[in-house]
Each structure stands twice: as structure tokens, then as C-alpha cells.
């Protein structure tokens, strides 16, 4: 109505209209988030009332049918896989972004960039499938059973590599061109430019890329489920099978009842807490701009 005869309306009416719409949409978005959180807490509460929080970390094992609810193995599994994947993907992603932006000839850079973008678009089940038929047999030859922490780390590293690489590349792209001119004017070598100027100036952007990738890693389910073996134990080596918090939910949701079902929601809640922590870290990292 208002838009159809916009020319007779004062701009301030437009403004109020737009503000109203924006308010509605952002309220809706936060309402959805709130609902999910509420749903998680609401469904976790029964078991939390019943046995308390400490049992989830102190019980002898995860055997929900026998009322043993230790989530520590899954928590450790999730964190180990995430850390391993980050350790692999962060340097690789950052180096590939550096290569793309500062070393590669333009044709190769464009090709490589679209390759990375493609990598980010591959469905996680395909990664899992590849891991299962290619990677797991390879690891099995070295040290059985093959489905392991290591397999999870490698596949997850591949999956989060594009996140690191693309955000790192965007960070480099946003650096003021004055730095490059200045460095060229002083005929600094590319190596000096990179290590002394570009990397320090990009610190916060690179940190953000790694943290966001970590968020993606901790939430990954399908691929991990297919290649990690899913045994609820704290792994004693890279070759041991592990179960993650996400896999734990996906595996048991179908048949869980009562406290067991509720305990799975606690897994979900735990994931949310980790994600919140990562996001607020990313927020903080992002604040330190290159001009700080």
C-alpha cells in the first residue's frame, strides 16, 4: 500500500516502514533461536533434575540403559577431532590463501579459488563416503580398525579448509593497498611484506577464520558418523575409534526414551555451549581491526 504511492509520502514514513519490517524480521530470527534453546533446555531438564549435572562427567561410562550417562568421552572426542582438524586446516588454509593472493599467476589463482569454493559446497555425506571407502581402508592397513580419530581429523580438516581459506583470503583482500605500495616503494621483498606486515595486520581476521572453522568442525555429524567408529570411549591413540557429541545424538535419537532421550538433549546443549563460546571468541577476535 505504502510503496505503491511512495512519491507522495515523506521519506520519514518510508523510514518508519522499513524500520518496522527490519524489527519484525530480526525479532523472528531471534525468536527462532530462542525457541531452539528453550526446546533444548526444556527437554534436558528432566534428566538434569533427576540425576544432576555432575553425573554427566563422573559416571563410569555411557550406558544409558543402565542409567550411566558419562558424556566425557564424547566431549573429549568432539574436542580432539576439532583441534586436530584445526591444526591441519588452519596452516593449510592460510597458506593456500597466501599462495592465491600473493604468489599464484592470476589464471591459477582464479581456478584455485573456485576449486576451494567447490570444496566448500560438497555435501558432508560425500566426504564421509570418500573417507569410508578410501581413507579408512588406508588407515586400517597401518593400524586397524581404520575407523578412527585420525580418519575423522583428516576428513574434517578437508571440510573446514575452505572456511579458513576463503575468510583468510577476504582478510588479505581488505588490506589497504597503501601497504603494498609502501612496501614496493621501499623495495621490501615479498617475504618481508608477508611476514612482517601482512600477517601481523591480518591477525584478527585470520583468528576469526580459524574460530568460525572450529564452529563448523564441532557441529559436523554425518561424515564423522561414517568414519570414526562411534565407540563411546576416550581414545588412547590417533587410531582408536571415537564418538562425538553430534554422532551420539544422531545414533541414538531414534530409539531413546525417558532419561536416555533427555540425556541426548544434554549432549545438544553441551554443543550449543561450545558453539556460543566459539562465536563470542570470534566476535572478540574480529574487534581487533588492522588499525588497532
Amino acid at each position: 500500500m505504502i510503496l505503491s504511492n511512495g512519491n507522495i509520502l515523506s521519506p520519514s514514513t518510508h523510514d518508519r516502514f522499513l524500520t518496522g519490517i527490519l524489527w519484525c524480521f530480526s525479532l523472528l530470527a531471534s525468536l527462532i533461536l530462542g525457541l531452539i534453546l528453550f526446546f533444548l533446555v526444556y527437554n534436558s531438564l528432566p534428566v538434569l533434575w533427576d540425576i544432576g549435572i555432575s553425573k554427566f562427567f563422573l559416571d563410569s561410562s555411557w550406558h544409558p540403559s543402565e542409567a550411566l550417562f558419562n558424556l566425557t568421552p564424547m566431549l573429549v572426542g568432539s574436542l580432539l577431532i576439532m583441534l586436530g582438524a584445526i591444526l591441519l586446516a588452519a596452516p593449510l588454509g592460510i597458506v593456500s590463501a597466501i599462495f592465491c593472493r600473493f604468489y599464484a599467476p592470476k589464471v591459477i589463482a582464479v581456478f584455485y579459488q573456485s576449486l576451494i569454493e567447490l570444496l566448500s559446497g560438497i555435501p558432508s555425506v560425500v566426504y564421509g563416503f570418500w573417507g569410508l571407502v578410501t581413507l579408512v581402508p588406508l588407515i586400517q592397513k597401518v593400524n586397524p580398525p581404520g575407523t578412527s580419530l585420525l580418519a575423522g581429523i583428516i576428513v574434517l580438516a578437508l571440510m573446514i579448509l575452505p572456511t579458513v581459506s576463503l575468510i583468510a583470503d577476504a582478510t588479505f583482500a581488505n588490506l589497504p593497498k597503501e601497504y603494498f605500495q609502501g612496501a614496493a616503494g621501499l623495495s621490501l621483498s615479498r617475504f618481508t611484506l608477508l611476514t612482517q606486515i601482512i600477517l601481523p595486520a591480518s591477525k584478527s581476521g585470520l583468528l576469526t577464520s580459524v574460530i568460525l572453522a572450529a564452529g563448523r568442525a564441532i557441529g559436523e555429524t554425518m561424515a564423522i558418523l561414517m568414519i570414526c567408529g562411534n565407540i563411546a570411549q576416550i581414545p588412547d591413540s590417533l587410531f582408536s575409534p571415537v564418538r562425538t557429541l553430534t554422532a551420539n545424538i544422531a545414533l541414538e535419537m531414534a530409539y531413546a526414551m525417558g532419561n536416555h532421550r533427555s540425556a541426548l538433549f544434554v549432549s545438544g546443549l553441551l554443543l550449543m555451549v561450545i558453539i556460543f563460546a566459539l562465536v563470542s571468541l570470534a566476535h572478540r577476535a574480529g574487534k581487533g581491526s588492522v588499525y588497532a
Binding site: 601497504y179 595486520a201 588497532a292
Partner: protein, 267 residues
């Protein structure tokens, strides 16, 4: 040195750079064409003229920074120390050490004041710590920054004021002891007071090296430049239309356009 009244009367050995028929195209679009001029040793030469007539492009040819611009094509000769530096095979790293550049907007690196000066020093001159300290102090004194920053050398250079940043950039270029310093409107992004300080500094720099400075500020050119060149946009490209001692350019210009431009009637 006496300032000769006409270009013809000049001794060639007093020139640091001799530009012959230099032209530059960006993707076939001409930036400036057939510029020939000598730049005199230990003098301040200013390039004036309206925007878009190739002054900055001309500057960037002299230290080959123009190489960084995709599709830029340069032709002609630039003789510097008996070498034609317009040739492709020239060692641009060595060249840019000898011909420094100051940009319109101060561009200190996002590092500490000290680190800004250390980087070029370590790369090209010395890694000896004591020597570095000494050069940093003398250079900062030379640009009049030492007293202002000596207690905060480890603070970010980005916390300095615009004028201080520009003087730091000048110091950063000076630590390499350039023979020629190119300046692209070094004062235009500064407030009047900082601008005056930097201008004063530029006049003192004459004792250390030759200077070629692009400016839009005619009064500034008149105040500080020994020689002045007027670029103009003509025949679809930038052209050098008059060049000579500043006194002559500003008081008895030969070209009508120059006369109109310096009187503020054109441009």
C-alpha cells in the same frame, strides 16, 4: 649552486635524471605522452597541473612503481646514473632503493614506529642493532620527529597524527639514503599546520637528496621549488607544456596556458 635562467644554459652533469620522450599508456589509454625533461641534482622540482594530466603516473615511472599497475605500458628513456631505467631488465629493487617515494596519504605500516624504520634498514642496509638504533635516531631527528616520539618508539605508528605519520614515512624513505625522493602531493591530505611543518622539512631535505614533488598547491610550488614543470591535458593525453626555473614559470611564463593557470584563470 646558481640557478641557471634557461634550460639550454644548463650543464648536463648537474642533472640526476634525464627523461626523453617518455610516454605511458594504461590499457592503450594514454596517461601522458612524449615528456622530456631534466631533473636537477640537489634541487626541488615541482610538477604542477590540473588533475588527470599524468603527474602521478609520471612520478611512478621514475621508480618503476608503475610496473605494479596491470596493463601499463611505458616507452621512451629515463637516464639515471648512466643507465636507462625505462628498460624492462633494470633491477627495480636496487632502483627503488635509490629513488624513494612518498605518497599522498601517509602510509605507515600498521606496526610500531621503530619497526616501520627497521624494516627497510634490515632489508637493505644493516642488521647491526646498535647501528640501527643510531640511524633511527638521526633520521627521526632529521625529520623533526625525534623529540615527539622518542618515548614511544614501540607504539603503533597509526596512533601518530597525519603530519607525524607523513614525516615518519619520509624518515622511512630516508633511512635508505635515496638519491632522489619522489613525493606525490605529500601535504594534500594534511591539515594546514602539519602541512607547513612537512613543507619546511621538504626544503631542508634538499641538502640530503634531490626532490621531485607533485603538488596542486601553486603557492607551495612557488615557495619551495627551484624548478617547475606544468603538465596539461591536451590532445587526449597529458603533456608537458612548460618547464623551467620556478621564478621564470611564475613570473614570466612563456606559454599562455601557463600564464592563465598560475593566475587561476584556467585549470
Amino acid at each position: 649552486m646558481n640557478i641557471p635562467t634557461t634550460i639550454e644554459a644548463l650543464d648536463l652533469s648537474s642533472t640526476i635524471i634525464q627523461v626523453e620522450n617518455l610516454s605511458l599508456h594504461y590499457n592503450r589509454k594514454p596517461a601522458f605522452a612524449e615528456v622530456s625533461l631534466p631533473i636537477y641534482r640537489d634541487q626541488i622540482t615541482s610538477l604542477i597541473g590540473p588533475s588527470g594530466c599524468g603527474k602521478t603516473s609520471f612520478l611512478m615511472c621514475l621508480n618503476r612503481l608503475v610496473d605494479l599497475v596491470p596493463l601499463a605500458k611505458m616507452s621512451g628513456q629515463i637516464r639515471f646514473n648512466a643507465e636507462d631505467i625505462a628498460q624492462k631488465k633494470v633491477n627495480v629493487v636496487a632502483l627503488r632503493r635509490k629513488i624513494g617515494m612518498i605518497f599522498q596519504r601517509p602510509n605507515p605500516f600498521p606496526l610500531s614506529i621503530k619497526k616501520n624504520l627497521e624494516l627497510p634498514l634490515k632489508e637493505h642496509r644493516t642488521k647491526n642493532k646498535a647501528e640501527i638504533e643510531e640511524i633511527i635516531q638521526t633520521t627521526l631527528e632529521a625529520v623533526g620527529l625525534w623529540k615527539e616520539v622518542k618515548d614511544r618508539l614501540r607504539h603503533s605508528a597509526l596512533l601518530l597524527s597525519g603530519g607525524q605519520q607523513q614525516r615518519l614515512c619520509i624518515a622511512r624513505a630516508l633511512v635508505l639514503e635515496p638519491e632522489l625522493l619522489l613525493m606525490d602531493e605529500p601535504c594534500s591530505a594534511l591539515d594546514p599546520l602539519s602541512s607547513a611543518t612537512v613543507e619546511e622539512l621538504i626544503q631542508q631535505l634538499k641538502e640530503k637528496c634531490s626532490l621531485l614533488i607533485v603538488t596542486h598547491n601553486l603557492a607551495q610550488a612557488r615557495r619551495i621549488a627551484d624548478y617547475t614543470a606544468l603538465f596539461w591535458f591536451a590532445e587526449q593525453t597529458g603533456k608537458l607544456i612548460e618547464y623551467g626555473p620556478s621564478a621564470e614559470i611564475f613570473n614570466q611564463p612563456k606559454n599562455q596556458i601557463t600564464e592563465a593557470y598560475i593566475r587561476g584563470e584556467r585549470g
